[in-house]
Amino acid sequence: MSETTYKSGSNLEKLMAAGEFIVTAELGPPKSADPEIIKTKADHLRGWVDAVNITDNQTAIVRVSSLCASKLALDLGLEPIMQMTCRDRNRLAMQADILGAYLLGIRNLVCLTGDHQCFGNHPTARHVFDLDSIQLIRMVRDMRDKKIFACGDEIKASAKAALHEPRMFIGAAANPFADPFEFRVTRLEKKVEAGADFIQTQCIYDMDRFQRWMELVRARGLHKRCKILAGLTPLRTLGMAKHMRDNVAGIKLPDSYIERMERSKEPKTEGIAICAEQIQALRQIEGVAGIHLMAIEWESKVAEIVQKAGLTPRPVPLV
């Protein structure tokens, strides 16, 4: 297959096209200008995952920008999946960053709405939401496929210049656990329609509800139109499990997991075991093309989870 048949040519796109069961992870940039934190996290992930999401002011807390951290990750031998939210930028800033990201070698972009600023460390900030995530997806797709900006202008430096469009492999999020449940699949379909090439779901604990959601996804054939990666966040402590269950909107955490974390003498080990079990179960679900491991500030355990779940070795990058 020649490279020109790919939309972006990213390794993630190639592995997905080759039908590999994908493993992505998350790297949260630091809340300071300390480069060592990114290096350490990259060391934990390199070789164990196919690509790494670089979060964008995650939970509305100021961190190293996803664009810069994506470039650093790339230089450290990882394939970055740059995340971009609609909270902090308008369409001008977004398109400028997409052009810049492409120039820096970034080829995967996940388009997100973004957490409301009230959850972060600058709750008095003004939010933007010029576009929503679905409009962002369409804009990135039109930049790539139609070679036009959001305003309709062609992506070229002057009237006589050649077109130089940024070619991104486009990701989006889906939350099977938020409401209204039946509309969740319609919203996923809108994202696919807008141009999403792959989906990473909100972290899954309620496997039954995820199964029901996947049934609806398959009924509409959406798993054939985009690759769906099942999101997972390993539980570290009983407190974290309870917090996820009680305080995080859009996450359903069954009591059986709480009980297991409560009973276990080594909750961390138990949390990893639960995660590995979930991966095994998710691999059996038709339409699940891989997993997305959001080990929040626990990147050091990704290798162990991937090994326990029997997902090693990872496929070598395709040329």
Binding site: D132, I134, A178, F183, A249, G250
Partner: protein, 220 residues
């Protein structure tokens, strides 16, 4: 209507520091209905200001502070005061400042939003005056106002049991409302198409807005 509430007393007293005679000016329209700046509130505030005996406060309420003509009735009394404390919304305060160019004009209220009266003492925001009303598409529920992120293609992942994660106790998920309403009308299909980016130039993003209607302008 425009919903407002009175500023904390300390802040009002701070604004009036150094003044001896103040016109406390109420407005007979929106802020009267929402019990923030009408005749009754003017009377109450004036008596509080008079406590301590240092400040002379004159009370007046006009029909509307968003129309210059209604200020004529208080021009004389205003001239005799050294400041005006307006209990109108921000619109009225600004017009008062424009009409009484040599007089400090202070707001006694914080203007909150355009909304409905939900129950006794409860008001809710319903319109952001975006200038491009799409209520016909969204089942009569405004996504710009009722969604905390003003999403055109919601709901986001923070919608749970019909509530918005920003403040589940007090905010309904606008997109759940849109969904339910269109479902009841048998028009859920309206939500399957991707809604295009909004034209924010019709909002305040395009600068302070003005409206001129030639038909009316010519008649008057």
């Amino acid at each position: 209507m425009i919903i407002a509430e009175q500023k904390p007393m300390d802040e009002i007293m701070g604004l009036l520091q150094g003044h001896r005679k103040v016109l406390v000016l109420g407005c007979g329209t929106c802020v009267t209905v929402c019990l923030a700046g009408g005749e009754r509130e003017v009377a109450t505030l004036t008596s509080v200001l008079r406590l301590g005996g240092k400040l002379e406060a004159v009370e007046q309420t006009i029909e509307r502070q968003c129309d210059a003509e209604f200020f004529e009735s208080v021009r004389e009394v205003a001239t005799a005061c050294d400041a005006i404390l307006s209990l109108a919304c921000g619109v009225g305060v600004q017009l008062a400042a424009r009409l009484f160019g040599d007089k400090p004009v202070y707001p006694a209220l914080n203007t909150k939003f355009m909304g409905t009266n939900e129950a006794a003492g409860k008001w809710a925001e319903n319109c952001l005056a975006c200038g491009d009303c799409q209520l016909g598409v969204f089942g009569g529920v405004c996504p710009v106002t009722r969604c905390a992120k003003s999403l055109s293609n919601g709901p986001c992942g923070g919608s749970e049991d019909g509530r918005c994660e920003v403040d589940p106790d007090n905010i309904e998920c606008g997109w759940q409302l849109i969904h339910d309403r269109l479902k009841a009308l048998g028009k859920l299909d309206a939500l399957t198409a991707v809604a295009a980016p909004r034209d924010w130039s019709k909002t305040h993003c395009g600068g302070p807005r003005r409206l001129t209607r030639e038909d009316v302008a010519q008649d008057s």
